[in-house]
């Protein structure tokens, strides 16, 4: 199924259909949202360990910032409300959506970086790709954790500084779990997915204009 989808995309690119076409982008957002939600619910019992972040990153890396941002926001629009652990309030949901966008921004920026392009053009790029993607994933996850922990304390503390410090300290066990799992996903899953998409003819986006 996934292979067929990739091939159809590949063919569509060969037939000069731009990836910037709105229906195609909407379809990509829907696919990545569905994939992320499915994996989120499958991994619901493992707190803070989710493939979602890596999928948003891949979406932005392969198909551009708009697809990444669209996926990030639509995932949380569903997952924030329909969640066995409880529904998020609007403030926290806003922080979660913004935080998730960090992965999309990181993916889109890295796809434009010459270092990543050179790695992709190598025949056996996985070693160094793992290192770069792992580190980028770690940093994006840290930024996400800082923002969302801050967001969960912002109306429970008297100053913004207090919210930041208390969020950092009280959220650190979850943050460590989140960061460690994302290092693994970004270092091993993301390079494989990007490598596979490259072999199937899904070129890294650079002209989504």
């Amino acid at each position: 199924m996934a292979g067929n989808f990739a091939r159809s995309l590949s063919q569509s690119r060969r037939s000069h259909q731009s990836i910037s076409s709105s229906p195609l982008k909407a379809s990509l957002i829907a696919v990545f949202t569905a994939l992320s939600l499915a994996t989120n619910y499958a991994m619901i019992d493992i707190p803070n360990v989710k493939l979602m972040d890596a999928l948003v990153f891949i979406a932005a890396f392969l198909f551009g910032l708009e697809v990444g941002l669209g996926s990030a926001i639509s995932i949380w629009a569903v997952y924030g409300f329909i969640n066995p652990w409880g529904q998020d309030d609007f403030t926290l949901l806003l922080f979660l959506m913004i935080g998730e966008c960090f992965y999309a921004i990181a993916g889109a920026l890295l796809s434009r970086a010459s270092a990543a392009r050179e790695l992709l053009s190598n025949t056996r790029p996985y070693g160094r790709m793992s290192l770069i993607f792992g580190l980028i994933g770690f940093q994006a996850t840290f930024a996400y954790d800082v923002l969302t922990n801050f967001g969960s304390w912002i109306f429970k503390t008297s100053t913004l500084y207090q919210a930041f410090i208390i969020g950092m300290i009280t959220g650190v066990p979850f943050a460590i779990l989140h960061e460690a799992s994302n290092i693994a996903f970004f270092a091993f899953v993301v390079p494989l997915a990007i490598g596979a998409s490259k072999r199937m003819g899904l070129a890294v986006q650079d002209k989504a204009k």
């Binding site: 970086a113 010459s114 270092a115 050179e118 770069i132 580190l135 980028i136 770690f138 940093q139 840290f142 207090q162 410090i165 208390i166 950092m168 300290i169 009280t170 650190v172 066990p173 943050a175 460590i176 960061e179």
Partner: protein
């Protein structure tokens, strides 16, 4: 120049950022452990300062406190004059001559979980519960906040009760047969 060399700055920035983040997280975890380890304290510097200094010139409030040991023994501390800025934890230390056992939670919580008063220690389902007397309803109310967050006011009546505290509804009031309400508002 090799490919690695040409992107040396990029790799260096990524590496340095990662090291900085790890340092921040290690620091945060250190504070997290310090905050949540619940260091056991029996008497402290705070205790000696409470029992020795009653500096003149400070505003004083008068409070009544009941300690119900759960075995039929109750003790009233009536009209205790204490500085107005004290919380119930400080008052408890003062009343029982610092014979209080508590788990201490440091910054950012700065809280205490009282586990023993005058040698009566938390055991099994039995623990110390906090009550306030609600003048408005002439009834006892189970404290919704911890001991450090109760800032004593003039004329206030507070109580400690040693009882089974699996839930608020199953807790017994400090005085047998007394009325209870769920909220003082």
């Amino acid at each position: 120049m090799t490919r690695l060399g040409s992107h040396r700055v990029f790799y260096l920035i990524l590496g340095l950022l990662a090291v900085a983040i790890v340092s921040v997280q290690v620091g945060a975890y250190y504070y997290f452990q310090r905050s949540y380890d619940g260091t056991s304290s029996k008497s402290s510097v705070l205790c000696s300062s409470l029992t020795t200094s009653n500096s003149p010139g400070t505003d004083v409030v008068s409070v009544n406190t009941l300690v119900n040991y759960g075995n039929g023994t109750t003790k009233w501390y009536n009209e205790t004059n204490i500085p107005s800025g004290w919380n119930f934890y400080q008052l408890t230390l003062y009343l029982v001559g610092c014979n209080v056992q508590a788990q201490s939670y440091g910054p950012p919580l700065n809280e205490h979980l009282v586990t023993g008063i005058n040698g009566v220690i938390k055991q099994g389902t039995y623990s110390w519960t906090l009550w306030e007397f609600c003048q408005k309803h002439s009834a006892w109310v189970f404290s919704p906040v911890g001991v450090d967050l109760i800032h004593v006011e003039n004329g206030q009546t507070l109580a400690w009760v040693y009882e089974v505290s699996s839930s608020v509804s199953s807790s017994q009031p400090p005085v047998a047969g007394a009325r209870t309400v769920s909220s003082c508002s």
